[in-house]
Amino acid sequence: MLFLTILAFALIGMFEIPPLVHRKQWRELIASSILLLIGLILAILLSLGVPIPPVSTSITKLFTPLLDALNI
């Protein structure tokens, strides 16, 4: 599973990066690489089964005191 994840990201990288290097668009290269890197880290964590706090439920927890106070 981990191997497949890394392979998929390598394929996306091969598709995305060469044209940017060719056109010397360094800013674009850095921006898309950072996004891709975040995606890679997240994908590796998910495929290794590392527990990640659920995003939207964390927002709900953040708003819970206010929601309770307003009695919604």
């Binding site: 995606g39 995003v55 708003f63 206010l66």
Partner: protein, 372 residues
């Protein structure tokens, strides 16, 4: 260099806004907390939404030809502006991946229980990424085909469902306390209707700028009436059971039976869901990558599309641990969380713009650049 060369007409804008408004509600209906009077809260919600929509329409009028990222940097200054538009872009990313999650969970639960939902999410994100790379014009043209198809499908299902209608299910008509009515209306405003705020990134590409406000208000009203029809249909068919159905539209349509031949046509709902979810994901992904490219002063947004799509699909799998959390988020958290970005941020921006006397001088606007 302009990031987006395309132009869309104001009628195309109506169709895309409709696609966004109708996206999640096929699955998580805005009737969650109010039950039978959902049709009424939908209509009241439209009035509230039109009122608040006037804020960002006024903003778009004041800064004609600017996207929200431009507006924020003009009004709030360079650094604070970047922070405000960064938060706005994160919000767009969040609701975009929420739509992917809604869609993938829906297909996973109802039609493809054996398929892991991350596969469905990645597939949808890939199609959306392909569309987004081709620009706003392609999304607009897709919406011109998909939204009328949705209306025809729904009208067909409505006609076929007429024999199952039990109008007594809708009575008594107004038996909810006023507070629930107001909260239900606000819920409809926050969750589907004012998500049209994302179009602050798209308004500059509408060819006739004067029509923008009319188009948005028009599509809000059409969308609201449409949603009311859906609630009436679902309630008239399945009655009070509707409040505990996870997917009311599917349950209602599944009951259709015409002469023992036309049965189990709930795939129609899936078709509708597929088309509008696709549109909404495209819009949120497009506005997010366009905004990011503007924020980072890139020459093109296309290199960001695939990484953003992958990230959106991955994040969509870690929103909730179970359906209850999704329900709580949609019916309670969204009442406070969505308005922060939908009402407070554009409202404050408009106030500060008025106080500082900022408006688009036209010199550096996207529109005037094209004319020169």
């Amino acid at each position: 260099m302009r990031l987006e060369q395309g132009k869309i007409s104001s009628s195309q804008l109506v169709f895309i806004v409709l696609g966004v408004i109708l996206s999640s509600v096929q699955v998580i209906p805005p009737s969650g907390r109010v039950g039978r009077i959902a049709w009424l809260t939908n209509l009241i919600g439209v009035i509230e939404a039109c009122g608040f929509a006037l804020i960002f329409i006024a903003l778009a009028k004041r800064f004609q030809g600017d996207t929200f990222v431009d507006i924020a940097s003009k009004v709030w200054g360079t650094y604070l502006g970047k922070a405000v538009s960064g938060a706005y872009l994160l919000f767009l990313f969040h609701i975009g991946s929420l739509v992917i999650d809604d869609f993938a969970t829906f297909l996973n639960t109802v039609f493809m229980p054996e398929t892991p939902s991350v596969v469905l999410a990645l597939g949808m994100a890939a199609v959306a990424a392909y569309t987004v790379r081709h620009g706003i014009e392609v999304i607009a043209r897709c919406s011109q085909i998909l939204v009328p198809m949705l209306v025809v499908n729904t009208a067909l299902a409505f006609l076929l469902a007429l024999p199952q209608f039990e109008l007594a299910n809708l009575q008594p008509l107004f038996d909810a306390p006023l507070s629930e009515l107001a909260l239900g209306a606000h819920r409809a405003t926050a969750f589907p209707y004012l998500e049209s705020l994302a179009f602050l990134m798209v308004f500059p590409f509408v060819s006739r700028q004067k029509q923008v406000g009319k188009s948005v208000i028009g599509s809000l009203i059409i969308g609201g009436v449409f949603l009311s029809f859906l609630s009436v249909r679902n309630y008239a068919i399945s009655g009070i059971v509707n409040t505990i159905n996870v997917y009311p539209s599917v349950m209602a349509i599944a009951l259709i039976e015409v002469g023992e031949i036309v049965t189990r046509i709930e795939a129609l709902v899936a078709l509708n869901m597929l088309s509008v979810a696709f549109l909404a994901i495209c819009v949120f992904m497009y506005t997010n990558v366009l905004g990011t490219a503007q924020l980072l002063e890139l020459n093109s947004y296309r290199p960001l599309v695939i990484p953003t799509a992958v990230l959106m699909a991955l994040v969509s799998t870690i929103h909730f641990e179970n359906y209850i959390e999704a329900f709580v988020f949609a019916n309670q958290t969204s009442l406070l969380y969505h308005p922060i970005f939908e009402i407070i941020v554009p409202g404050l921006t408009l106030l500060v713009a008025a106080a500082r006397g900022k408006r688009n001088t036209g010199r550096d606007a996207l529109v005037s650049k094209e004319e020169s």
